[in-house]
């Protein structure tokens, strides 16, 4: 049924492929051979099926997904993050995450100082490591590309700072300002 639009519950079959040999993209909208949503069946990478939709459906945080959020509170054991997007898809309000001290970086986890890693108002890129407890998901920034993406200069207020190293950020307008953060390594092609 490649190219056909299916509704939830309909069987998804491609002529020419044995049903047992059907591969499905995980989280592609096809489960147990049946569609989960309304969408068009497309074949990607030879024999993998997923559903294509005109509108992105809403998601919730799941283990292994990237979560982008804003830091709301910091204490010496953890930073509380308000999750804004999962895998670049905006989510509803209210999803909360925690970055615990042991999840900030990979090396020397005992000597991490939370106030030198995050400050309230920072935008962070994290990965969800666990569903956590009732209040929050557990997030981690323990790789090079994760960490603070945006932080604002404390003296001039609204200016975003730029990274100087993986632990420091500085402000363009205030040369004396040097802020400590766990900085995310952005690819060379990144705009900011």
């Amino acid at each position: 049924m490649e190219g056909q639009v299916v509704a939830p519950g309909m069987r998804v079959l491609v002529p020419g492929l044995l049903e047992g040999a059907l591969r499905v993209v995980p989280d592609g909208g096809i489960n147990d051979g049946r569609a989960e949503r309304v969408g068009r069946v497309v074949v990607v990478e030879e024999q993998a099926l997923r559903l294509e939709r005109s509108r992105q459906h809403a998601v919730c945080p799941a283990v292994g997904r990237r979560a982008t959020g804003r830091v709301t509170r910091v204490n010496n054991r953890m930073a509380v993050v308000e999750i804004l997007a999962v895998d670049q898809i905006p989510v509803s309000d209210g999803f909360r995450g925690l970055i615990r001290q042991q999840d900030v970086r990979q090396a020397e986890v005992d000597s991490v100082q939370m106030y030198k890693s995050f400050m309230p108002g920072d935008i962070v890129e994290t990965v969800v490591v666990s569903l956590g407890d009732r209040a929050a998901y557990y997030l981690s920034t323990a790789t090079n590309e994760l960490g603070v993406v945006h932080a604002f200069c404390p003296s001039c207020g609204d200016t975003p700072m730029h990274p100087l190293s993986w632990v420091e950020m500085g402000c363009v307008q205030c040369p004396s300002v040097l802020e400590f953060r766990k900085v995310a390594k952005r690819p060379a092609s990144a705009v900011f």
Binding site: V5, A7, G9, R34, R37, R53, S54, V59, G94, Y137
Partner: protein, 326 residues
């Protein structure tokens, strides 16, 4: 998000205007089973009532007359703020449904008085929950709004793949613009469409049908047979036994459907499962099977209609998208 009464009135008039415009040219007529349905120009779906036929049941002592279901009008994507939404008209019963989610459980919306809301358990780390809130536009128009909310949330929690939304909540808000007897069927169908529109992962579609078992005056093939006001109480043996799909009160404020024997069914058509079955009142043994057969057939028909409507809609949206980028 509770739908404002003012907004609802504007939307209903807008949709009715679109519906009357859609009745002109630009209709695509297709036959589906026993009834015709057509896709209007504005992406709305209008189903005309099928012709009623008289059946003779040789085993039963008397003939049971199936009476056609009132016309069905559906439209999805009517509320821009919601994740998904739908508007369903079943005869004179009009229902809006909005779906929000997945949301974090225990946040947002709990500040408002959920007088007629209900939840299907507590969200856990394995599965989420579906909450349902039923409100009516007028005062006291929906009887047992709370009971309806409980029923709808339990039906939807069987249909939605909640294990994909751990620790999350999917909120379903129902606004009953007018309830003339088919609140249950219209609500469940609207909720199904709204969930499809939102892209919530579901096991299958869900469609519902209510079947009233009652007696009608002679001359059942005319349209007036659908008017329940002509039916008398169960004890009166005049008139012909009839099963009425999605019975409607013919006059606003009339409560005739309250006194009918009513069977409600909700089914998952592709999986072939009944999700909800409820009988209110009394039915003779040999009428139960007949009535429930007709109810299931009607529900399957509605499911086919909802399915093809959603697929057509998605197809035209995808084509518009690829035409835009090409």
């Amino acid at each position: 998000m509770i739908i404002d009464a003012h907004v609802a009135a504007v939307l209903v008039s807008h949709i009715c205007c679109a519906r009357s415009l859609a009745s002109g040219d630009g209709r695509i007529k297709t036959k589906l089973g026993a009834s015709e349905y057509s896709m209007g120009k504005y992406g709305a779906l209008i189903v005309d009532a099928a012709d009623a036929t008289v059946e003779q049941d040789s085993e039963a002592a008397e003939a049971i007359v199936p009476v056609a279901s009132p016309s069905l009008f559906v439209r999805a994507g009517v509320l821009s703020e919601a994740s998904g939404s739908a508007y369903v008209e079943l005869g004179n019963t009009q229902v809006f449904c909005a779906v929000h989610g997945p949301r974090a459980a225990g946040s947002g919306g709990s500040g408002q008085g959920f007088g007629s809301g209900s939840m299907s358990g507590q969200p856990s780390s394995q599965r989420g929950i579906v909450t349902c809130d039923v409100r009516s536009l007028g005062e006291g128009m929906v009887d047992n709004a709370g009971a309806l909310a409980v029923v709808v949330s339990s039906i939807l929690s069987a249909v939605v793949r909640l294990e994909q939304y751990p620790k999350s909540r999917i909120d379903v808000y129902v606004l009953m613009v007018n309830d003339s007897g088919s609140a249950f069927a219209a609500t469940v169908n609207a909720a199904c469409l709204a969930l499809c529109d939102a892209g919530v992962a579901m096991r299958d579609l869900v469609s519902a049908c209510s079947m009233g078992v009652t007696r009608v005056r002679p001359d059942p093939a005319s349209e007036s047979a659908m008017e329940v006001d002509k039916c008398d109480d169960q004890d009166d043996h005049d008139g012909v036994l009839a099963v009425v799909a999605n019975p409607q009160n013919s006059r606003p404020g009339s409560r005739k459907t309250q006194r009918m024997t009513l069977m409600d069914f909700a089914i998952m058509p592709n999986l072939g499962r009944v999700v909800y079955a409820h009988l209110r009142g009394q039915v003779e043994f040999n009428h139960v099977e007949k009535a429930s057969e007709k109810a299931m057939a009607q529900a399957r028909l509605v499911a086919a209609i909802l399915s093809s409507y959603m697929r057509e809609r998605e197809k035209s949206a995808l084509d518009a998208m690829s035409a835009g980028t090409a």
